[in-house]
Symmetry: C2
């Protein structure tokens, strides 16, 4: 069987695939475009069913792609460049179903809550870091970059296939976490904040991290059980939000 | 006295200033361009002497700029946009002397060593994180992004004015650190690596972090006293280099 080959970026399939990097079209199609060999491998290993794979010639003999032969279309390097968000594309893309995870009930375990984190690199790094720390659920609150944004996908490094990614408003969730007896920690310096090392590691907690410029929303801050802060020894005024989350998470999960 | 006003990006001073974002011209002129109000304030507060400040009208009455009135040139918003590396420029820039720090002798204290860290955002975040952790010296080894790269400057958030930034080859420095009795830690997973929590915090250490894709150079790795690793609990394969450095540094400096 001869595989389909596309060498023009004006091909309708390619135009449609390119749109799957944009939220509006992702929602319409119920699908998103994932770029790069490592990430496509992660998706396949996680049991994801690509609707279509676009790959340049060098990937066509990869063992992991064999089960998806019927869904694979060969593309030229020029088309790969057109589809790519990266400057030096590897030349492989998968169209994957846009499935949002739901919170497991009853609420239990460790959670990272993102309150209006805007930078896609920060958001992706936060998910990757939560994954590494063993935190099983990352909640995207209002104002947070979209999980299917290409830059978020790249920074997550496939961790979206290892942890639950849930988009939901945080205020109600925080109430429910507290009802479930799960301590909710903020991460903003205020008069009542406690150095993070004074809280013992635990298998039940939720940590909220806030917007890069403005910090956590005041309502959420008021709803936390305890605010944690990282004592600064030098003269830096603050830490990058993903760095701060990492330091606290690796302590709480130790 | 009427302040000079420049409204054309073709003005020779502006053309020269723009070049001061590029390493080659920075070296020739012995100066670099720093963008943004927070960073310019940090520079002034650190006692830096700007050779020139380019500012749009809204900054001209700032108290901190008064001592530099003779060095300040007003620019139009269009010129600010031309000079800027950011998408929404604030409209203020300083031309600062390109001064490299030197290592304080005798060697003593806490060091972060960057071995071929290529991503400017990572490099800048590493310096900012070292600053926050109280580490006083960050050493840029071969292959590491330049400290005066605009993206590095942005991610450092002014921490270059709080810690020593030294560019020097790492192999010889590591030998000298060891001779001075300062333990040198690697951060690469190998058979002999130790979980980072098993090493006690100390006021004397050097931590080496390695290239994003390839890790530390093998020669450096062989020269370390001990390799440290961060146990991964989830299924992420690795951590972002700045995240990993943060987790280890905040432990070692606790």
């Amino acid at each position: 069987m001869i595989m389909e080959y596309i060498s023009s970026a004006k091909n309708d399939h390619i135009k449609a695939a390119k749109k799957l990097t944009v939220k509006k079209y992702q929602k319409q199609a119920g699908a998103y475009l994932l770029e790069g060999w490592h990430l496509v491998q992660e998706a396949i290993n996680a049991g994801q069913q690509p609707r279509r794979i676009y790959a340049t010639e060098k990937f066509l003999n990869e063992r992991e792609l064999k089960p998806f032969y019927d869904q694979t279309t060969e593309i030229s390097p020029d088309v790969a460049k057109h589809l790519a968000e990266t400057e030096t594309p590897q030349g492989i893309f998968a169209v994957l179903p846009l499935e949002e995870d739901k919170l497991s009930e009853p609420l239990s375990g460790q959670y990272l809550l993102l309150d209006a984190i805007q930078d896609p690199g920060n958001v992706g790094t936060l998910v990757r870091t939560a994954d590494a720390a063993g935190v099983k659920t990352v909640v995207f609150g209002g104002g947070t970059a979209d999980p299917f944004n290409p830059k978020v996908l790249r920074a997550m490094q496939g961790s979206q296939f290892h942890v639950k990614i849930v988009s939901t408003p945080l205020p109600r969730l925080v109430e429910n976490l507290k009802k479930a007896g799960i301590p909710v920690y903020g991460s903003e310096l205020n008069d009542a904040a406690k150095p993070y090392r004074e809280v013992a590691p635990s298998d039940q907690f939720a940590l909220i991290v806030g917007n890069e410029g403005n910090g956590m929303s005041q309502d959420l801050l008021a709803a936390t059980d305890q605010n944690l802060y990282i004592p600064i020894k030098g003269r830096a005024e603050s830490l990058n939000v993903a760095i701060a989350a990492a330091v606290i998470l690796f302590h709480l999960t130790a």
